[in-house]
Subunit: 210 residues, 2 copies
DNA sequence: CCGATACGAGACTGTTCCGTATCGATAGTT
DNA sequence: AACTATCGATACGGAACAGTCTCGTATCGG
């Protein structure tokens, strides 16, 4: 499955989807190696650290083989990050707590994966310098997940499971934000049940009940 | 007031604190202009975008005037970011809600200031490439504020205002994280009373009460 | 005035990196 | 076999930038 929405690998002048082009065909293996190397370097070196020469060396590929496929570095990164998809758990509807927990756990797992975790940096870091990358990341990763959380909460309000005056937006920001804030700023030792503690903390609230 | 803890401006070979050194004295005005320009460029261009030549041009200063004071770019940034201090509201102790609100409002105000907001990028972004900068930022800005929030919550638990089983760490991450997550990823229109909604959301919880 | 240091400006060197061009070799089609 | 596009490798031009150095000038104490 190739990402084609935004300048996927350039397959050259239109020759029809089936017609075979003359000459040596492009190596699918090289293509995959390039994407993998890009993700590795991105995970290790961060955003500005992705230099094409290093990616080429890691992939065991010539630079031309990269530029034959993507016109510049941004397109390469766009393709590489676009290939990092996480499965979205479909809310089961048993309870708000379980649904939220499933989502938060996936997000925590993402954060534990260095490749995916680095993308969070786009949100607060140098992301403004790469607006297309930002926009794509937001649209493909951030917003779908936010919407999922919002809808779970709204459904909980509808069913009476949650307070009718629940602040949907604040609740969502609370959950996603806590994940971002965790551990990166201090190696908190609250790994295992972090997701559960987070969701329960939100549901329960802190105020003492008489 | 000069930052001296970490390689402040190099005042040359030790000549005693009072003894006047011969020759033309350094321009305090140039020094301030350099710091200001550094902060401006940092706010606009982000971390990697801070190039000394640009800072010098903005400050109306020669590069040598910068390098006479700080040995390299990292020290310059260290000094510039170190000069960005926000007043820490001292918890008044009237109520947990009021104390938290005061802290959160200051943090939100910080985030609205582009200069200060950019520093958040260090936490998730390219910060790992500048460990000294990271450490200093954490120690001087992040942890004091986190500790303040923790202590307010702990006091609330002690006084019975908060549930005894309140998760201090989770509550703190919830508050600070939500601030980070807000608006940067989507221009939410929840500006004015964001801090209040956030604190109230945490205190109240979402679960419906029978 | 003199010596010492700082000043702004900018030339200069060395490094890094993007993107292009070129090499002989390779793997397909016709 | 002829043809053609891709292969990995590498040289290259150009830009950006860190850090050093050198101008001629300005500002201090003595």
């Amino acid at each position: 499955m190739q990402p084609v929405t935004v300048a996927g690998p350039d397959t050259g002048p239109a020759t029809g989807p089936i017609a075979r082009r003359p000459g040596r065909p492009r190596s699918e293996q090289a293509e995959q190696a390039i994407i993998e190397a890009t993700l590795d370097v991105f995970a290790e070196q961060g955003f500005e650290g992705v230099c094409v020469e290093l990616v080429a060396a890691r992939a065991g590929v010539g630079k031309a083989t990269i530029y034959r496929r993507w016109p510049n570095k941004e397109e390469l990164l766009l393709a590489a990050l676009g290939s990092l998809k996480s499965p979205y758990p479909e809310p089961q509807g048993d309870s708000v707590r379980e649904d939220l927990l499933a989502i938060i756990e996936v997000m925590c797992a993402d954060k534990a994966d260095p490749r995916k975790a680095r993308r969070y940096a786009l949100l607060l870091g140098e992301g403004e310098k790469y607006p297309r990358l930002m926009a794509r990341y937001k649209a493909e990763v951030v917003e779908p997940r936010r919407d999922m959380i919002r809808s779970v909460i709204r459904r909980g309000i509808g069913t009476g499971e949650l307070r009718p005056d629940t602040d949907v937006e604040i609740s969502m920001l609370t959950l996603t934000g806590a994940i971002m804030a965790q551990e990166k700023s201090l190696d908190g030792k609250l790994d295992g049940d972090f997701a559960a503690r987070l969701v329960d903390g939100l549901l329960r609230g802190c105020t003492a009940r008489p």
